[in-house]
């Protein structure tokens, strides 16, 4: 898929059939078609699937993975990986709830949560980008360290929110005009902002370049280490936001929150067409990948398919999608 949308649009094909073909060469179009097909299928298969309530529910659930997915998308596009986000999502609930309990302020609690996320991002980024340690290993390490830290601090128990602030509850559970969940709005705003950043700001293009070919990026005068560092910080901050929304939904800081979340998100990112080798893919694709997985699991649940089978089906779909993508690329 073209990396610079406005360029490819300008070189645009003239005839409608060509337009169609060019459209279908885009990974995002294929994903969109899959998503729509999925929704149509489940609408017929299950009477309760296509209701405003259900759809907005799914959007609300998907938004947490979407927000974190944007961050993972940025890191992977920069040619790195971050698997510590699941632990981080769980961890930020602690400073959030603890500070809120002590100070009575939601804002201070959120600031504390984001500060923790920032710290993790800086640590990951420093170790992976500046010290050059493989990012899978670094973030696997921080994943364990953070999770261990959570267990140590909480004694493996949830920390309850003593304050029960309405604003805290609303953040994760409220709905705009009673329909659109707030987390979905947050996800949408972040998505638009980051799609713009990655497509239309030099910073975003430099992230692509660094992931595509770090040596070339260096020769072009980029500070490769700093760009990669920035990607890790962005990723952690977005995971932090996702974690804040999660604890609002859970109403407390839960020590097992976010377990396995990182792989759910990485799966969606890969399904969305982002290459783990870096430099290839788009955040729009990531968003579609997240939505496909979310609707899939919701729809399968409505058809009363056992969770065991849901896992198997999801896994097969991810492999099939990536294989399809790879074959398409080889044909070009």
């Amino acid at each position: 898929m073209p990396q610079s949308p406005s360029l490819s649009a300008a070189a645009g094909p003239k005839r409608p059939t060509e337009l169609l073909r060019a459209l279908f060469r885009r990974n995002e179009t294929v994903l969109l078609v899959c998503l729509v097909a999925l929704i149509v299928f489940f609408s017929f298969a299950s009477g309760t699937f296509l209701t405003t309530r259900n759809i907005t529910n799914v959007l609300g659930q998907a938004s947490l993975a979407m927000i974190a997915g944007i961050g993972i998308g940025v890191v992977v596009l920069a040619g790195e990986i971050d698997v510590s986000i699941g632990s981080l999502v769980g961890a930020v609930g602690i400073p959030l709830v603890v500070v809120m309990n002590q100070t009575g302020s939601l804002e201070l609690g959120m600031a504390a949560a984001l500060l923790l996320a920032l710290g993790v991002g800086v640590a990951n980024g420093y170790l992976a980008a500046y010290l050059g340690i493989n990012s899978l290993i670094v973030t696997l390490g921080t994943m364990f360290v953070i999770r261990g830290g959570i267990y140590l601090y909480t004694g493996q128990r949830a920390i309850s929110d003593d304050l029960q602030l309405e604003s805290f509850y609303q953040m994760g559970n409220g709905r705009l005009l009673g329909t659109v969940p707030y987390p979905a709005l947050v996800a949408l705003v972040l998505l638009v902002a980051f799609v713009y950043l990655m497509r239309h700001r030099p910073f975003g293009r430099q992230i692509y370049a660094v992931g595509g070919n770090p040596e070339v990026a260096r020769l072009a005068g980029y500070n490769v280490k700093r760009l990669k560092f920035a990607a890790f910080v962005i990723c952690s901050l977005l995971a932090g936001i996702s974690g804040i929304l999660l604890s609002s939904r859970l109403g407390s800081a839960v020590h097992v929150a976010g377990l396995g979340f990182e792989f759910q998100v990485v799966a969606a990112v890969v399904l969305g067409g982002v290459s783990l080798a870096g430099g290839v893919g788009s955040l729009l694709g990531v968003a579609l990948g997240v939505l496909i997985l979310a609707f899939l699991s919701n729809g399968l649940g409505m058809l009363n398919i056992a969770t065991e089978w849901q896992l198997v089906i999801t896994g097969l779909i991810i492999i099939a999608a990536v294989a399809f993508d790879e074959l398409k690329r080889r044909r070009q």
Binding site: P2, Q3, S4, S6, L7, S8, A10, A11, Y196, H200, R201, P202, R205, Y208, A209, G212, N213, E215, V216, A217, R218, L219, A220, G221, Y222, N223, G279, V280, Q332
Partner: protein
């Protein structure tokens, strides 16, 4: 119009544009540069020449801020410069066309041109329309035929090279450095490049030009500096040089005959028989090659030589047709069968298709012959080492040890390693695609002698080339290709440059 407008604004300084003095650079086990001086004058083309591994690219990378020098000083426009990163060099107005193509293959041509500095509007958003327009204008001005909207990774190497050149010229520059910019260009494209270079010098820009092609140097250069084994050998105005004196400076000895012919005229049986071969690019290609002969394939860019080379060794799939090696059909059509039947390919694109860059010379050389060194399923490293060492000595591969990573070898030496890889296998047929791209005269004459010797020993050599002298000097028979077909086959005795070119255009 960044190039002309901006570069025109550069005031022409009275003194040299660049002075590098006493430059030294050591890599583990290699003294790449020792006390090297180089002075560039504004508005002049300075050629830098020398054998493979002489240190040309190293000197350029020091200038580009990629490597840090161990000794010496660099002055730009009279002021001492500390080039700690590529960024510093770019800021100092040094634009480099690197020997290895340095583009982001997933980006469009236009975006690659502006990689160093994206034009942005007041809000900091990239102005894509400006990028598009200026890239198109730049190519129009340079006369390069490249589609700015194309993705770089999908362009042929020659076009990528032109993008690379255009990119160096898109921004303000005081010094433009080109490291073998023409290694993949056609003669027409080279002519275009020279026009561009003359325009640059007209604007007072200093040009440093690295090439192995003597004719180019005599055509474009004002001054020539020769390096040998990392040392400065001579700096002279081009007028003071002849071909012979330049070669003598480069390799420290004379080459009497670039195309020695030791082998006799005897040819053996047909070892390669290709009948009615068609692929996406090739149309109904049939030919035979005999043991002990060099069959040269000539053709312009895009004639289908590389496609043919890849098809007959089993690398690329074929649609119809029959290929047999030594009487046995190449079925199933893959390289495993090819190697088993004794046919090997020396690729044109050694970086992406031939070398395992991170691995040492040893493994890169022994790759295809590993089974020969196996004992009970284990590789006998002692035998592997001594066999590889033999080839490294025989081909005079310049490397501090067999353990050196291949990516640290100079281009010519990489090519020798690849050739050695196939010859260790004891082949019947070797297909060489542009065997001397980026290779110095000394190494060239060695590779020519080697090809001659191999044919003399009874190998069939199929050589794809776009170099006329090489074609005429080495082949026994010549096949000419155009648009995926063979348009003429002639004996060397009967072949003239004119007849070959005519057939290539047909």
């Amino acid at each position: 119009m960044p190039a002309d407008a901006a570069t025109a604004a550069v005031v022409r300084p009275a003194g040299p544009a660049l002075e590098m003095a006493g430059i030294g650079k050591r890599f583990p086990g290699v003294l790449a540069l020792e006390n090297v001086d180089l002075t560039l004058e504004p508005g002049k083309v300075h050629a830098l020449m020398g054998e493979n591994g002489a240190g040309k690219s190293t000197l350029i990378k020091i200038l580009a801020g990629v490597y840090q020098r161990d000794a010496g000083t660099v002055r730009i426009g009279g002021a001492e410069a500390d080039l700690r990163s590529p960024r510093d060099a770019l800021r100092a107005g040094i634009k480099v066309v690197f020997q290895e193509i340095a583009l982001i293959s997933e980006f469009t041509v236009a975006e690659n041109i502006f990689l160093e500095e994206y034009p942005v509007n007041g809000l900091g958003s990239i102005r894509w329309s400006t990028i598009r327009k200026e890239a198109a204008a730049l190519f129009a001005r340079l006369g390069f035929d490249v589609d700015p909207a194309a993705k770089v990774g999908q362009l042929p190497v020659s076009q990528q090279q032109m993008v690379e050149i255009a990119r160096a010229l898109a921004h303000e520059a005081r010094i433009v450095v080109m490291d073998e910019p023409t290694s993949s260009l056609t003669p027409n494209e080279v002519a275009l490049l020279f026009t561009v270079i003359r325009r640059l010098t007209g604007l007072g820009i200093a040009v440093l030009y690295v090439t192995h092609k003597l004719d180019e140097v005599f055509e474009i250069a004002d001054t020539v500096t020769v390096l040998r084994d990392g040392r400065h050998i001579s700096t002279r105005p081009i007028g003071a040089h002849t071909h012979e004196s330049l070669i003598q400076d480069m390799i420290g000895r004379k080459i009497d005959n670039l195309f020695p012919r030791e082998r006799g005229a005897a040819r053996g049986d047909v070892v390669v028989k290709v009948e009615g071969l068609s692929t996406d690019k090739l149309k109904d290609v049939s030919f035979e090659a005999k043991a002990g002969e060099v069959l040269g394939f000539f053709g312009l860019m895009g004639a289908g030589r590389t496609e043919l080379a890849k098809a007959i060794v089993g690398f690329d799939p074929i649609r119809t047709g029959r290929i047999s090696i030594g009487g046995t059909p190449l079925v199933p059509h893959n390289t495993r069968t090819g190697v088993a039947l004794g046919i090997g390919l020396l690729t044109e694109d050694r970086k992406s298709e031939g070398l395992m860059l991170e691995l040492p010379v040893l493994q890169n050389t022994s790759l295809a012959a590993l089974e020969d060194f196996a004992r009970a399923g284990f590789v006998d490293e002692g035998r592997e080492r001594s066999a590889v060492q033999q080839f490294v000595d025989r081909f005079r591969v310049k490397t501090p040890s067999l353990n050196q990573q291949i990516k640290n070898l100079s281009g010519g030496n990489q090519q020798k390693v690849l050739l050695a890889r196939w010859l260790m296998r004891g082949l019947k047929v070797i297909v060489v695609d542009e065997p001397t791209r980026g290779i110095d005269v000394g190494a060239k004459s060695e590779i020519f002698a080697l090809i001659d010797r191999l044919a003399g020993e009874g190998l069939a050599v199929i050589m794809m080339t776009s170099e006329m002298p090489e074609l005429l000097g080495l082949s026994d028979r010549i096949a000419v290709m155009a648009e995926g077909r063979i348009t003429a086959v002639m004996d060397r005795e009967g072949a003239t440059q004119e007849a070959i070119l005519n057939a290539a255009i047909a």
